[in-house]
Amino acid sequence: MNAAQKSLLQASRWRAWEPALWAAAFIAPMVLPSHAAIINEIAIVALFAMSLDLVLGFTGIVSLGHAAFFGFGAYSAALFAKHVMPDPLVGLAVAIAGCTLLGAVASLTIQRGSDLTRLMVTLGFALILLELANKLDWLTGGADGLQGVILGPVLGMFAFDLGGKTAAYYSLAVLLVFFVLARRLVHSPFGATLEAIRDNRLRAMAIGIPVSSRIAVVYTIAAALAGAAGALLAQTTGFASLDVFEFHRSADVMLILVVGGTGWLYGGIAGAIVFKLMQDALSAITPQYWTFWIGLFLVVLVLVGRERLLKPWTWFAKKGGAA
């Protein structure tokens, strides 16, 4: 093996902290059973953010309408459980399949234009789905939400419990599976072509990369992942309502991803943990004004810089050097 190969493969090797992190994640619901519900929520949001990272972080395609797929996944899974069969895994697969189709169709709309154009087209797409779900109230329950979704036990063995432990493990497991797949994807030549498209589309074309179809493929994959996240939400809460399509879902997931950092897959996970825990803690302290502190956090995060905020010891070192 030559030096070039070694350093290329180095990039995709599992770091020591990664298995440790995942092990910690899977121990968490056991050690902190009282937080199982929020662990479940974090896992779902992390999956959702990871899906956005594939398009935004790796391919440079911005989207303010990722909730379209999240919501579609949620309703597909909920309707499937209600009308066809209650098995969660089958429902998950159906939701993913549905979102893959939807993503393939939607990928036609994001091929051209500037960032702003894409933001608005994706946003519009999600809002139209929202309106549709509202109008089709005989199917979706409209604004009241879709009730009566009862899920069977996972793998026929683990029933969803009130404490949310099964839900947490279910979501974590799905997250892990998709994480491994996504990790493989971004370190493949395919993943490298995505980064090439993000960095310089003109040149990407000039070395023979079929830019449009690559974008379409990754957008479709991301849609499937977002759909999986939505399906998990519907399955673990036994409920789906219109807000899964709302603008703020898309906006929040983007915030979460950017907080955690784009383009390294863990960004969504880190962002989900930080954001959700902070929101939970702050809103417990001041249910009325917690948004202020979240806002302050975002402002400080940007002004100080993600790197420096996470490494406080660099605050003073820098000044010393300049003097």
Partner: protein, 365 residues
């Protein structure tokens, strides 16, 4: 002994924030007035913000039940939030007191749900009873395009038709709708005797203003609405244009009873002069229902016992006499017809007629 815990889940931020604030203030007022010890047991209120996201509501409820071991879940600003929580109430056998959400079907989602707010069919039919008797034969309805709006539209129309009136056109406006101009213009062109409106409180003043701006009152069209439109919370800022608007609702801050006077006064004193609205009274009465149930169970407060003690409560509320129907667990109450009038330089919904003991008509279908 451990405290008796009430988990109060409300929208405290975002567009529904006023709902949460009113209910929180009312609940705290009730506790201040009645002490925080009931039948020897300390009562503790845990307030959570669900930002009007049903999955968050559900998660918070789950955590409250599992971790904090609350005895009662309460609050619930919007219908999906109440609905999403219903399975938790059922599964954990925890009474769920709905203090705000107003879609008819909520109480059917779990046998543990008790409602102290109102339902839209309840207040809409009252208006449909009143209108034909007062020279209103043709009506155009204008409602927000979501569950409660559609409830209001349907029950108003059915009852009006039954009473010999006619709904000539039914308009639904999107929930996110900054400008009512095209809808109102359509109404104006249709020239009905009256326009029936339901929009969530907040949008109400916009409708009213644009109604006037369009000169619709001068064109002989009357504005009738559910009480959300002339929400007490905002009525005073709406200006004289609101004068004379007829609405039907279960509560007005101007309800002429001693109890209400005391309630309004105490509420204002505790909240920088804020006027309680129908949300506040839902929260206030909800607390009463919980307190009384706790008393009845002698401070023990098992879920089923509490629920049994909540069912069938009859009491005097600031809104008038109310009754928790043991069968439906929904509230039975008087619905008042009110007209906006000026009293001591302030605008109030002044009651001029009442339809007694209205059950939720949604339950008879």
């Amino acid at each position: 002994e451990e405290a008796f815990k009430i988990g109060l889940i409300l929208p405290m931020t975002g567009q529904q924030a006023t709902t949460g604030r009113q209910i929180e203030a009312a609940a705290k007022l009730y506790m201040a007035q009645n002490g925080d010890t009931v039948a020897g047991r300390k009562v503790q209120l845990i307030i959570k913000d669900d930002t009007s996201l049903p999955d968050v509501t559900r998660r918070l409820a789950q955590e409250l039940v599992v971790n904090d071991k609350v005895n009662v879940l309460a609050g619930f600003g919007i219908t999906p939030s109440a609905m999403a929580t219903a399975p938790i109430a059922t599964q954990s056998k925890t009474p769920q007191v709905v203090m705000a959400a107003a879609t008819s079907a909520i109480t059917e989602a779990s046998p543990y749900i008790v409602r102290t707010s109102f339902t839209l069919p309840q207040v809409s039919v009252a208006l449909a009873d009143w209108a034909p008797k007062n020279g209103i034969k043709t009506v155009v309805t204008l409602v927000s395009d979501y569950g409660p709006g559609i409830d209001a539209e349907k029950f108003f129309k059915d009852r009006l038709t039954f009473n010999g009136g006619k709904v000539t056109e039914s308009l639904r406006v999107p929930l996110r709708n900054p400008d009512f101009a095209p809808f109102l213009q359509k109404v104006r062109d249709a020239k009905p005797d009256a326009l029936f409106v339901f929009v969530p409180s907040g949008a109400g003043s916009a409708v009213m203003k644009q109604f006037l701006e369009r000169g619709m009152d001068k064109a002989g069209i009357k504005l009738i609405a559910t009480g959300d439109v002339t929400d007490d919370d905002q009525l005073n800022d709406m200006g004289d244009g609101a004068l004379g608007v007829v609405t039907s609702h279960h509560y007005s801050a101007a309800h002429p009873s001693a109890m209400n006077k005391k309630f309004v006064e105490a509420f204002g004193k505790a909240n920088k002069g804020l006027r309680p609205n129908f949300m506040a009274v839902g929260g206030y009465d909800g607390m009463r229902v919980i307190y009384e149930a706790l008393k009845k169970t002698g401070g023990k407060g098992g879920g089923d016992a509490l629920l049994a003690a909540m069912k069938g409560q009859i009491f005097e509320s600031p809104r008038g006499p109310v009754f928790i129907d043991a069968q439906t667990r929904d509230i039975v109450q008087n619905v008042y017809l009110r007209k906006v009038e000026k009293k001591d330089g302030q605008l109030y919904n002044v009651e001029f007629d009442v339809i007694k003991d209205v059950k939720d008509p949604g339950k008879n279908k």
